[in-house]
Amino acid sequence: MRRFLVVCSSFVLIAALWAGSVFAQGITWWEHSNPPHNNYSKELVADWNKKHPSMPVEYEFFAMTPYFKKLSAALSTKSAADMFTVIDTLLPSFTTKDVLAPIRPEWLGYKNLDDMKKAYLPGALDGYIHEGKLYAVPMIAATFSLYLNKKHFREAGLDPDKDYPRTWEDIGRVGQKLVKMQGTTMTREAFDFAMHSSAWTMWYLEGLTRQHGGGILDRAGKKCTANGEAGVKAMQVRSMYVHKYKISDPTVSVATNALPADDVPKGRVSMFITHAGSVAQFGPKMMEDIKVVPFPQVNPRKPVSVVYGFALAVNPQIPEAKQKLVHELIRHVVKNAKEWYEKTSYPYPSANFLELPGMDEARKTRYLDVFIGDIKTGTYVTRTPFYLEISDAMHRAMERVVLKNEDPKASLDQACKEIDAALAKP
């Protein structure tokens, strides 16, 4: 017994004294977990390491949901990686607190920021600019488009190429021919919104509110306007498929379904809004039955869609020389737009993306035109450091309306009360 405990305690002591944190001679890069693109990131790292054996990149990725919290904790204790991937919605939480280093376009090979902007699709960099400075370089631009099941359409006597919905009301009408009921249970939804995350809820609601001419926050970002006329109409659209058109059943696509787009390949929903990466997710076989069309609009003549992206940011606490090196790494990561698309199926927001050689086939079979079209009319979500609080409040409001059939205005009023309270805090 005694010997056992002595061995145990020396074990503990040795483990405790093992100061093994090797000081990284190289560059550390953190990313969030996203199986489609992590593998490509690893390839890029391997490539860099071959060319720069003295300055290897240590690449780590973390589960999506806690990634932001880990990053916050790390930045707060000055132990974050040299370079990290950040999703644009969460960028303001960092830029407003000076924990990101401004990007120097000169170090990326451009003359200045304006010059750099020209290399990208119009507005593609806007999501990453704060007070005139660029804080992150986008790796992908993702947009939401409408995916529909061609087989279901044809079965219902519709022509997927002609009869696809262009507006939200269209979806309701077309959906009534596609929904399948068995008694009172819906066995196949015609259309659905994902309900599993407040991030997706915000993307939908921002898009809808902007299409109606309003916004979730006022222009200065200081007051909640989601309960204004545009916001209420947006929420009505969000919930009308459940209550008015009855082509949607929230008991299917809610927190319990961890894969929001999974209903599509399973044939449980005929139309679904998801991002470009789903093309790779579904795989070429499933995609044969699917057609992608632009994000539905309120007014097809003034299209507004939703765009988001991941971008690379630089840690301001590392010395200048190292920051320059990180810029080199950024250049290396984003240099091949075509490869990004081929390996991850996420479009890259460079200006000449569609003209790159070999893109023609993708335009025809992989709906690239649709995605780029939506990116062009896309707007990033409202920039605010309170993004998570706001999206949680909006998500709760949406749940009240969709699941309990609460009045949209009342629900949004409550959300705005919560949001204004949050905005008022220091």
Partner: protein, 277 residues
């Protein structure tokens, strides 16, 4: 009905409830096992399938290849064992001190120690991280193990247990000239084996699936524990659930082994703890 008949039926009812209870208890296990052998689309099929059409044994090697799971399991085992060892040693030392000795502020220390059980980890996360960083233990095993090496629960348990050991045993040893140290190692500990077994099992189980603390203190892939690896398998909106379940099944094995190992001691252990003041 005669009393005997009533008792017989009562007995049968109890047996029936027992079996039903076991069924309900084990249902999630069955589901987990079954899901781990299905294909990705079978898992979410409706109406649900209880059994896979064809057991997909390949899920297991596939799942393990998604991350450095060999390393993750090793880390989790190492952390759990080391923390278990630390607790066994330091909690029994402290429990003995609190149970059999009188010194000023003893009860106050005990209550203060108990109070450390009442604050959730999340709020002390950042200050604890700062302490660990100050000690240079970020991103290494020390940082994973040391902060967890002593827990008030173990101190509470050992104190209760040792309180019940007869004082005469200790007195006799002292009269024989045995040192205090000697008494601890030769008299107290050997009589505590059941409680130590219980503590070992519970500590191992609780630390086997540490998630939040490793998330914050470690960023090197080769230091991650298996819950971090598991969570990583979920992407921004896609997850191979059949593979996640395969990992979950594998993850149960070490705990199950420890449980079977300590099971008898555990039941006997708590039995003798008395828990009387």
């Amino acid at each position: 009905m005669s009393r005997k008949a009533l008792m017989r039926w009562g007995g049968r009812l109890v047996t029936l409830l027992t079996i039903a209870g076991i069924g309900l208890t084990l249902l999630p296990y069955f589901w987990m096992l079954s899901s781990s052998l299905k294909t990705g689309s079978e898992v979410f099929e409706l109406p649900i399938r209880w059994l896979p059409r064809e057991p997909q044994w390949s899920n297991y090697p596939d799942a393990l290849s998604r991350g450095a799971f060999g390393v993750y399991f090793f880390n989790s085992t190492l952390v759990a064992l080391a923390v278990m060892a630390g607790n066994l040693l330091f909690c029994s030392l402290a429990g003995y001190g609190l149970a059999k000795f009188r010194f000023p502020y003893r009860e106050l220390s005990f209550r203060a120690i108990l109070s450390t059980l009442m604050l959730p980890l999340e709020i002390v996360l950042v200050p604890t991280f700062l302490v660990v960083r100050g000690l240079g233990l970020v991103n290494n095993y020390g940082g994973l193990i040391l902060p967890l090496a002593v827990d008030a629960f173990g101190i509470f348990l050992m104190r209760q247990y040792i309180k019940d050991l007869p004082d005469s045993l200790i007195e006799a040893a002292r009269l024989d000239g045995c040192s205090e140290h000697g008494i601890f190692w030769r008299i107290i500990l050997p009589n505590c084996t059941p409680a130590l077994g219980a503590l070992a099992l519970l500590t191992f189980r609780d630390n086997w699936d540490q998630f939040l603390w490793p998330l914050i203190v470690v960023s090197k892939d080769r230091l991650k524990t298996f819950p971090l690896g598991l969570a990583q398998m979920e992407g921004i909106d896609s997850a191979a659930y059949h593979e996640i379940m395969a990992i979950a099944v594998i993850a149960m094995i070490p705990t199950a082994i420890i449980f079977l190992f300590f099971q008898r001691a555990f039941v006997r252990g708590i039995a003798l703890s008395g828990l009387k003041e």
